[in-house]
Amino acid sequence: MTTSIPVPSGASSAPKVNNLGLAKKDYDGVASTLCNGCGHDAITAALIQALWEDGMNPYKVAKMSGIGCSSKTTAYFLSKAWGFNAVHGRMPSVATGALLANRTLIGVGVSGDGDTASIGIGQFVHAVRRNVPLTYVVENNGVYGLTKGQFSATSEKGAKSKYGDVNPSEGIDLCSLALELGATFVARSFSADKKQLVPLLKAALKHRGIAIVDVISPCVTFNNHPDSTKSYDWGREHEKQIHEIGYVNPWDPQDVDYPAGERIEVAMPDGGRILVRKIDRDYDPRDRRAADRLLADAREKGEFLTGLFYVSADTPNLLDMLSLPETPLAYLQQADLRPGREALDEVMESFR
């Protein structure tokens, strides 16, 4: 894909440092221990790119994950940030708690399809309902990589495993499920489509609510046979971008010579803008019903659509609903928290 939307995610125009004066390598993590060619590593690379281009303050990022090959990847980017590899399927609750404690943290959750759609579907559902301000990346390979290739709940019914087993249960489409539950940012991408993935992640990182990014990410070891819908071959052949997408930060060069009307622009709270340009259909990612239809059609036709399906930039998130103070709860001092003697006296009196 070549795009004329001025997205600074390419190699050519990339500045040596970002708006914080940090180099891309400042967003690196420790070396990956995943299989060569694992889709997850490409997503890690895209995340590094996106975090850097978005100028995210590394010290404020909380990298949250569960258990699985995918969940390990939070160690492979941004060593300057805190990471929390929790227990299997329960990343959302830990992330929620961390964000309650410190509202200035930038929540980046990375999970797998097993971690999210199998054991973790309950916490996924409730994190979405609460609109927890979390970029929630699912590295979706349709199998449990780390335990050697069993089907996960995103494998479609009838899918065949590397060993010939047939999946007997309906697969979960995390994007349409998230939409159903009221998610405020819903996107899908393909780990091999970095051009699309980076701007999607950039937008997700700037979203002030839950941002579900379902990334098809082939497991080269257990689910990369050509008839697997989670393989590189299948993905490359079938991916259909629903639009071109770009993300422009306030400090990025303005996109001047672009006729209005041909694209949709979504303003984000920090002044950034999501730019979406038509490829072969008219699609407004702010229209939830359109997203419903799009995904239901795609499911019927067995299409692999990617792009930003839905965004609602201004729905209050969980933290907004709680009227938290400026200072993170974690930093409040005894004097801010312990009521005075009068208060205790008052309570005591109520029990007399």
Partner: protein, 613 residues
């Protein structure tokens, strides 16, 4: 209406001497009928007369229509434990009335709804049939919808009259209950008055039980352990509460939410707290752990089933060393068990909770005041030792009303433990510290809080193997070093938790008693009784797990020790045997596990049965 003469002549209680300020009133009703307010009025009236009381609710796991009992222990000596038998029975529930009568103490007074016709059941009781249906119509002629509710206030009036309760005190109690609702106040006042008047005119006092004013409660408060603990959390600086409803813990979370709303909302509407009702216990503790990790004082509340569900996360918090306070208001297990009955049933499971080698500090409050104070202690321990810390309440303490002195304002400051700030890291250099390094020789490492803006502050938290620098490792030696350090931390913790409270006999005894939590009260009462019989025992009340050195010493200086607890399997005895092996032979378990709180009589009987002399 005159009471049937059969009762009048047969009642053996009629001629005995007065029993003043030392008996139990049992009100048997149906739940959901609003009797709680009436019972509160009774208890507050007696308290208002300066006489010590304790209120105990024995209620079903159900919202409406099943039997429920409220026991008020009136005791000027201050004993607050349950008594097995009621001296004054107010029998309002036909479904249980026969059984209630059968279980009443000899000579008990029975106030009952006349149509039940209970007076032929036993000859040794004093019966007071009351035409409640008639009286309630009198009290509130124009509001039939309220009759069911108001009937309960009529029995308050009858009982007040019979027991000699002070009407000013009754009025004060009513004012406290209905102060803000004048209409309700006047209806209820009328009901009490009608009951009292009718009783004065129609009932002849033939039982010995009376309340007489004293001056023993002035300044005191009557509070449930859950509210007390919530207040402790407020004072401790808890900022994050994530919880899932479960009896008998829900009222703790709800009280804390109320206190937060009242005392942590600034004028500008800022809320210096976050409360999230999670979708289940896994999420509740997961959120609390996430918040603890990020630096908030966080907690969750639950009961047994919740502890089971939290097990995986508890192991993570232990191994990754994350502070979090978990309050277990214990109820009767196994499984869903008897959700509205009390038990010390989660001790062993909580102490060593989660797979692998794990141990956790537990605190055992005995009184409302300790519930308040130990909640604060729990937060300090959790942060100081970076480990999940449990406050073990139970339904008996948490949901019942206890008379006690008002709580002191906390002395001393919150201890947030070993947290390195940006300045510290600047001083130490980026490689100058290690998240899991034992710098001070106490096994407790240092941590940083996410968001600290300096290179080298960040570390990676995981439940997998990690080295001193929090790096992933599968190295055997590194794994073992870390596990050994955790053990050293445990050793440090052992003498940092509240030690036992020793209550020696007048002269040292060879036989000792050990207990924890609310069984303390019946045990102290039993000790007094036994003392009266010339039998004395040294007594140690455990306040925490692990066991401080003083616990070992107590065992060392006694030949035989009764460990008294409310469960079937002797869970505390098991923990003592594991941790202090040499105690094993000395332990004799006294176990009470029918869901009702232990009573002094049982203690006396059990001990005497063994210690025959």
């Amino acid at each position: 209406m005159t009471p049937p003469s059969a009762v009048e002549t047969a009642s053996p209680g009629a001629q005995t001497a007065m029993v003043v300020n030392d008996f139990t009133i049992l009100v048997a009703t149906v739940n959901g009928t609003g009797s709680q307010t009436s019972n509160n009025t009774l208890i507050r009236t007696i308290m208002g007369m300066g006489v010590p009381v304790a209120g105990r609710n024995i209620f079903p796991s159900n919202i409406y229509g099943l039997p429920t009992w409220y026991a008020i222990r009136v005791c000027q000596d201050g004993w607050s434990g349950r008594q097995r038998k009621a001296n004054v029975l107010i029998a309002m529930n036909l479904a249980t009335a026969h059984d209630d009568v059968a279980k009443a103490a000899a000579g008990a007074a029975v106030i009952y709804d006349q149509p039940m016709g209970l007076d032929t059941l036993r000859k040794d009781l004093v019966y007071y049939p009351v035409p409640f249906a008639k009286l309630v119509k009198e009290a509130c002629p124009d509001k039939p919808a309220l009759w069911k509710l108001v009937t309960n206030m009529v029995y308050v009036g009858v009982a007040a009259q019979l027991l000699g309760l002070d009407m000013t005190s009754v009025e004060a109690a009513l004012a406290k209950a209905f102060g803000s609702k004048p209409k309700a106040l006047s209806v209820n006042q009328a009901a009490v008055r009608v009951g009292a008047k009718w009783a004065a005119e129609n009932l002849k006092k033939r039982d010995p039980y009376r309340v007489e004013p004293r001056n023993l409660t002035s300044g005191k408060i009557l509070i449930d352990g859950n509210s007390a603990s919530a207040l402790g959390a407020l004072m401790a600086g808890c900022t994050v509460l994530t919880w899932y409803p479960i009896t008998p813990s829900s009222s703790l979370a709800e009280s804390l939410q109320d206190y937060f709303t009242k005392y942590r909302r600034t004028a500008s509407g800022e809320q210096r707290y976050a409360v999230v009702q999670a979708e289940d216990e896994l999420a509740a503790v997961g959120m609390a752990i996430g918040a603890g990790w990020a630096g908030a004082r966080s907690m969750t509340t639950t009961s047994g089933p919740g502890i089971s569900l939290m097990s995986e996360f508890i192991g993570l918090a232990y191994y990754a060393e994350i502070p979090v306070v978990i309050i277990d208001v214990q109820r009767v297990g196994p499984s869903t068990g008897l959700p509205t009955r009390t038990m010390q049933g989660d001790l062993l499971f909580t102490a060593y909770n989660s797979h692998g080698d794990t141990k956790h500090p537990l605190l055992f409050p005995t009184s409302a005041q300790e519930a308040y104070e130990m909640t604060m202690v729990a937060f300090d321990i959790a942060e100081r030792f970076q480990t999940p810390t449990f406050l073990m309440l139970d339904l008996e303490l948490g949901m019942n009303n206890w008379l006690c002195d008002p709580f002191p304002y906390p002395v001393g400051d919150i201890d947030r433990g070993k947290v390195l700030t940006k300045a510290d890291i600047e001083r130490l250099g980026a490689n100058g510290w290690g998240r899991y390094k034992d710098v001070d020789g106490d096994g407790i490492p240092y941590r940083t809080l996410p968001g600290t803006e300096i290179d080298g502050a960040a570390y990676f938290t995981r439940g997998t193997g990690h080295d001193e620098q929090a790096r992933y490792t599968e190295d055997s030696a590194a794994y073992k070093r870390n596990l050994d350090r955790l053990l050293k931390k445990w050793e440090t913790l052992r003498n940092a938790v509240p030690g036992p409270v020793l209550s020696p006999a007048k002269s040292p005894t060879r036989v000792g008693l050990v207990a924890l939590g609310t069984t303390h009260w019946p045990i102290e009462e039993a000790r007094a009784t036994l003392r009266g019989k010339g039998v004395e025992f040294d007594y140690m009340r455990l306040r925490a797990f692990p066991f401080a050195d003083a616990v070992r010493d107590f065992f060392a200086s006694h030949d035989r020790v009764y460990v008294i607890e409310e469960n079937r399997d002797g869970q505390m005895a098991a923990m003592l045997r594991i941790e202090i092996p040499e105690t094993s032979d000395k332990i004799k378990s006294v176990l009470h596990y029918d869901g009702l709180p232990l009573d002094a009589e049982t203690v006396v009987e059990e001990i005497l049965a063994h210690e025959t002399r």
